[in-house]
């Protein structure tokens, strides 16, 4: 059986799936990136290989897609046929599960986006700019402040009868507002419900500004696991908001399907997880731009690189590297 591997390496978490030709997920893996995308990918590959061996020993991965903020690095390491931005990947993944979707909300660790779909085609999107208010990191920083595990936020929020109004426009101001509300006696579940409302208000007013939000709505990204935020979205839009159990995997699934449709096949070997990959970063120094050039090495051999504004930069750094090999990744 032909199968397709999709890997989505985000700033916070790394997601990967092996899917069959119909888009059915045969194996899945989800873990923290922990600032080390190379290691995270090796770990998801191990998990996927185990699952595939156990349940679908006849599956052969014939195409690979990479997405997420580390997509270029991971694409190079895995020899991916397709390296796609996460917006397209999410749209494709979600459409494979919910063909009638018209609005996709997505809130991740550091960014949030909205994708507007009409008749099965993404027609518009927006992403947060310059600011992390209204993203998962906003919630986790407030959770620390309240000393409530962020995983329990949703249950707290649902217990609230009268959500506190929190100024959610800015993480810094929200925090001082939250402290003030706690000091004057608002119960913690009302504050948490207020935070969920704040993140939703922020999202709809920034990322969702001027967009026509029509049902069916699918909500994904790490924050979609928070039932409090889901409820706030339903209250604010007056529509039912779907959360797929595999919602966090839609980017990985989407890019696996894009790889499938690309039509270029070559057998992928999970043993790549045992190969030594390194990245070397260096400032070019060839001109005042001082581009930070990154090279990816496979067993010491150059396989890909980026960050240079011109062709000279890559040559300079490669030449320099040939004379002094040093690794930047443990």
């Amino acid at each position: 059986m032909k199968a397709y591997l999709g890997v989505d390496v985000g700033s916070i978490s790394t997601k990967a799936v092996v899917a069959d030709g119909d888009g059915q997920v045969l194996a899945r893996s989800y873990l923290w990136t922990e600032g080390n995308p190379l290691r995270a990918v090796k770990r998801v590959l191990s998990e996927l290989a185990e699952q595939v061996d156990a349940a679908h020993p006849d599956a052969r991965v014939v195409a690979v897609g990479a997405t997420g903020s580390a997509r270029e690095l991971i694409g190079a390491v895995l020899g991916a046929q397709v390296v796609k931005n996460e917006i397209t990947a999410h749209a494709v993944g979600t459409l494979s599960r919910h063909a009638d979707v018209r609005t996709i909300f997505e809130i991740g660790g550091q960014d949030s986006k909205i994708i507007i779909v009409r008749d099965g085609v993404p027609v518009d999107y927006a992403m947060n700019t310059l600011c992390a208010a209204g993203t998962g990191s906003f919630l986790s920083s407030q959770a620390r402040r309240l000393d409530v595990p962020v995983e329990e936020f949703g249950d707290y929020a649902l217990r609230s009868k009268k959500p506190t109004k929190i100024a959610g426009r800015c993480t810094v101001f929200a925090e001082s507002d939250l402290v003030h509300k706690a000091q004057i006696g608002h119960p913690v579940e009302d504050i948490i419900a207020g935070l969920c409302n704040a993140i939703v208000g922020n999202y709809l007013n920034n990322v969702g500004k001027g967009k026509e939000i029509l049902a069916p709505i699918v909500f994904q990204g790490g924050v979609s696991k928070n039932v409090g935020v889901v409820k706030s979205f339903e209250d604010a839009t007056g529509e039912e908001v779907y959360v797929d159990d595999d919602g966090h995997l839609m980017g990985a699934l989407g890019v696996a399907l894009v790889a499938r449709d690309e039509g270029v096949e070559s057998l992928f070997d999970f043993a790549v997880r045992d190969v030594k990959f390194e990245t070397v970063g260096e400032e070019c120094g060839g001109c005042p731009n001082d581009c930070e050039v990154v090279l990816v090495l496979r067993d010491g051999e150059f396989i890909d690189g980026w960050g240079n504004r011109c062709a000279r930069g890559m040559e300079r750094v490669r030449t320099h590297l040939a004379s002094s090999v040093e690794s930047a990744v443990p």
Binding site: N85, I87, T88, P122, V123, Y125, G210, P288
Partner: protein, 311 residues
């Protein structure tokens, strides 16, 4: 024999991208050499950031870096003071102020200026001729130099408009990038964005290079409320090209007031063309830029496949 009587530096920023041909031809006619500062790079921007007040907009910071780069390389540096170009409009205040800001923060350079304030009867021709007579004490010769320069400037503008038209007739996806010339054509600001778009296989049409006279008339169809001349031209180019492109990218530098007003206005009124806004600031990394542009192009191509034409 070297006939050149002086060298004038042209900072490669702000109005340079509009009047380069006018200035270069004018001085050439007067046997005055011109020296252009190099294309923007990180070091020029860093110098500009050091010189400027924090709240200054990004293009003005870049401008100061360019002026500083020309120090000790030329006898004079040209910085026009442009206040109004028509009776009822105004230029962005940075064009009123750039000469005086540069004069006050950069020591040891001889800045020369000419003023344009049409609403108060001060015209480009008289002012450039006044400046020209500093170098050549011959009224008729200077006036002739201006006429030659202005004709060259007009011809150049028309040639560019023709080139734009040729791009629009090509098959394949086309994207209009809307932004001031000093942003669009800057090596550090707009060029990377244009390169990313071209790597995605779309044809790029630039707003700034439109036929400005026609563009200003067309602007009124979108809005009559924009008071800034150069933004009116951008707005006009949107109206001129929007039916012939598949998408529009608005390129705005932080924290430009006129551009954010214009962009917001366009986003609300142009529902039939997909559009995105890209805001550049001095801390910009290319990663987010690439993600946004790639997904925008994917979306245009998906729309083209589904609808057969502009989405």
């Amino acid at each position: 024999m070297n006939r050149l009587i002086a060298t004038v530096g042209l900072p490669r920023s702000l109005l340079f991208y509009k009047y380069r041909v006018l200035w270069a031809t004018f001085f050439e006619q007067l046997d005055v050499a011109t020296v252009e500062s190099p294309p923007s790079n990180r070091a020029i921007l860093e110098r500009g950031i050091d010189l400027a007040v924090d709240e200054t907009c990004l293009p003005l910071k870049m401008f100061l870096g360019h002026v500083e780069t020309l120090r000790d390389k030329v006898d004079h540096i040209l910085v026009p003071r442009v206040v109004t170009l028509t009776k009822r409009e105004t230029a962005c205040v940075k064009f009123w102020a750039s000469f005086d800001v540069a004069r006050n923060v950069i020591e040891g350079v001889d800045l020369i200026e000419y003023n344009v304030d049409v609403a108060n009867g001060i015209h480009e021709r008289d002012e450039l001729c006044r400046l020209g007579r500093r170098f050549v004490d011959d009224k008729r010769r200077v006036r002739r130099a201006y006429d030659v320069a202005h004709a060259a400037y007009r011809e150049h503008a028309h040639r560019i408009a023709g080139e734009q038209d040729a791009i629009l007739d090509r098959p394949g996806a086309k994207v209009l990038v809307v932004g001031h010339g000093y942003n669009l054509h800057d090596e550090l600001l707009g060029k990377p964005l244009i390169r990313i778009l071209e790597q995605q296989g779309v044809h790029v049409v630039c707003s700034e290079l439109a036929d400005t006279h026609l563009a200003r008339k067309l602007a009124a169809r979108i809005s009559t409320d924009i008071p800034w001349t150069y933004n009116k031209e951008l707005l006009g180019s949107v109206e001129l090209y929007r039916e012939r492109v598949d998408g529009i990218v608005f390129l705005v530098t932080f924290p430009c007031g006129p551009d954010s007003l214009m962009t917001e206005l366009c986003m609300r009124r142009l529902k039939d063309v997909p559009a995105i806004t890209i805001v550049l600031d001095e801390l910009q990394g290319e990663a987010g830029l690439k993600t946004r542009l790639e997904s925008f192009v994917d979306l245009l191509k998906a729309g083209k496949r589904a609808g057969g034409g502009a989405a």
